[in-house]
């Protein structure tokens, strides 16, 4: 099963390789990995999406907690959480396709962030399902470039 882990870390120089090395050394999967500073100085947040059997996920969480510079690990899959990823995609947009692409962009609430005579660059934000859906729809026009941030996520305030 897919899990999204929120990992709060001390922002020391080696921390990313400590975490990444743990995954590769123990044969765990990383599907996406996002890192950025938090509002607290010296502390960063990593969001890792991974998959595996429950026993493996349990090991991943425990092994992460064992890393000295990891402050806190939360498995957001056990909570109600908001999850988002942002994707930039550059799609072929010849004249006869342009209207259709813009219509799709509109439905998905994408932003057009760059335009040229035969290409459109879209910015789309959403959960995994939405991103998969738009990729499916745009693929027939030809997606020339594709860059994604990796999942970021947060517990919802109301845990119903």
């Amino acid at each position: 099963m897919r899990h999204v882990l929120s990992v709060l870390v001390e922002n020391e120089p080696g921390v990313l390789s400590r975490v990444a090395g743990l995954f590769s050394g123990r044969g765990f999967n990383i599907d996406t990995l996002n890192v950025g500073p938090t509002l607290e100085k010296g502390v960063s947040l990593m969001t890792i999406s991974t998959h595996g059997e429950e026993q493996i996920i349990e090991q991943i969480i425990k092994q992460l907690r064992k890393v000295i510079t990891v402050i806190k690990v939360v498995d957001l899959s056990n909570a109600r959480a908001v999850e988002r990823e942002m994707v930039l995609l550059k799609v072929n947009a010849a004249d006869h396709n342009r209207a259709e692409i813009l219509r799709i962009a509109d439905i998905f609430r994408c932003k057009v962030v760059d335009v040229s005579v035969d290409e459109l660059t879209l910015e789309v934000t959403g959960d995994q399902g939405k991103i998969k859906a738009i990729v499916n729809l745009l693929q027939r026009f030809g997606i020339k470039e594709f860059a994604r941030t990796g999942t970021v996520a947060m517990r919802r305030s109301m845990q119903l």
């Binding site: 870390v9 001390e10 120089p13 080696g14 390789s17 400590r18 090395g21 743990l22 050394g25 026993q55 349990e58 090991q59 425990k62 092994q63 907690r65 064992k66 000295i68 510079t69 990891v70 402050i71």
Partner: protein, 564 residues
Amino acid sequence: MELTGAQILLESLKQEGVKHIFGFPGGAVIDIYDELPRYPIEHFLVRHEQGAVHAADGYARSTGKVGVCLVTSGPGATNTVTGIATAYMDSIPVVIFTGQVPTALIGNDAFQEVDIVGITRPCTKHNYLVKDVKDLARTIKQAFYIASSGRPGPVLVDLPKDVMQARTEFEYPKTISLRSYNPNYTPNRKQVKNAARLISKAERPLIYSGGGVISSHAGEVLTRLARRFSLPVTSTLMGLGAFPGNDPLWLGMLGMHGTYAANMAVNNSDVLISIGARFDDRVTGKVSTFAPRAKIIHIDIAPTSIRKNVNVHIPIVSDCLNALKALEEDLDELSGIDWEEKHSAWVKTVTGWCREHPVKYEPVGKTGRIKPQYVMERIYELTKGEAIIATEVGQNQMWAAQFYKYHHPRTWLSSGGLGTMGYGFPAAIGAQVANPGKLVIDIAGDGSIQMNIQEMATAVCYNLPVKIVILNNSYLGMVRQWQELFYNKNYCATCLDTAPDFVKLAEAYGAEGYLVEKTEDVVPVLTRAFASPKTCIVDIRVEPEENVYPMVPAGASLTEMLLV
């Protein structure tokens, strides 16, 4: 007062109570060596950096204190890696200081630069590169704290040359608080109550203890608990010595080369109490058939050990000592149980197994040469189980585990997790430094001893009377045994018939050397060597194709033992 980085390092070591360090100099650490004579710290110059780490490791295992070593950058640092990995796998507290090129050159492929922090990241508990002399004292404090607390382990501190030369005010931090590191020492009392209740319902309980019992100084409590509640005990290789090897409740080691009684007891027990052990594959054999009838209680300080390899019914994350004390209290509260009576049938069964199938060997083999097991039995008798025994790796290690009875914690030093040939001798040197009056013996193989033989110079130089007993079978015996049993006797690359003359080698280093070829000479020569004030090598020519039994083939169930 302002001090240089080198002075701060040595001051800090002093504050940590470090009396002995093992090391080897080089350009990047000259500043430290330049200051060293002014400090009350005795330095032991090894002949290879791997030896320094194993010596620090043997020092730590035999005392419970943190072992310390100091090496230079580049090749000095890379030479420590096997030693560090050995300590890491067995959770031994060691702090390794490595020199590093000046900070301005880091990343430039400078002379003798290596990213040792990157290299050792997966085999240290934690590591540091100190970039500013202002961070030095705090980092050292943290390194010692992390190495020795929680589940212990090696911590490496990389010291750029300019940081050793820079100056700052020195103040050694008194306290330490790490937001991201708070090992849990005390057990969840509800879980302990559940464990006590489960034990009280058991008919065939068994204690399976490991290295954690030794590192948490819990051997005494374990022994008391087992005796009071009449619980038979087996242990891992790492756990030997925690429970006295001559106690009637002792079943011997379990696992691949475990005793018949221990493996059968695991197979038949209904409650398995695992304390400070981690269900390693050499212990469990085929995991799916391990302890098939048992509910498992698992006490360990490392949450990662729990449910990693087997499912357990009652996990207890705690220091072993605290957990055992709590368990003893809770078992006490279950009044009205006559424990001895309750477990008498089971104890009778397991001691019956011990009697019917002790570890044994044919007294005379194919060639009629000395039996290695005989040697171990005689060493046990001669030392009355009071020596510190270090081992190399292979058959020698297994015979040392099987045919010598360990009575005290910290008298058995062996590379369990990594299985490092070449560990035993430098570890014995470290143990001898820490225990000057004690008899320290390295049980060696003819292969393994050659991996760190250069440390003979170290032992002789510091008058360390370590005894090396080579069970010389002219083979990489353990590999040969596998080839014999599972690879049609294809003895490829395991024959060691070109060996040095170990007696001459000992003499060349200024030590004593003895050759033993006849069974009747074993006791007299060992007696002489053990009484000698010098470093000794005793080269004992043993039956070349002797095998270690019992043996559970890799991947088989514990009950599928090959016996003598």
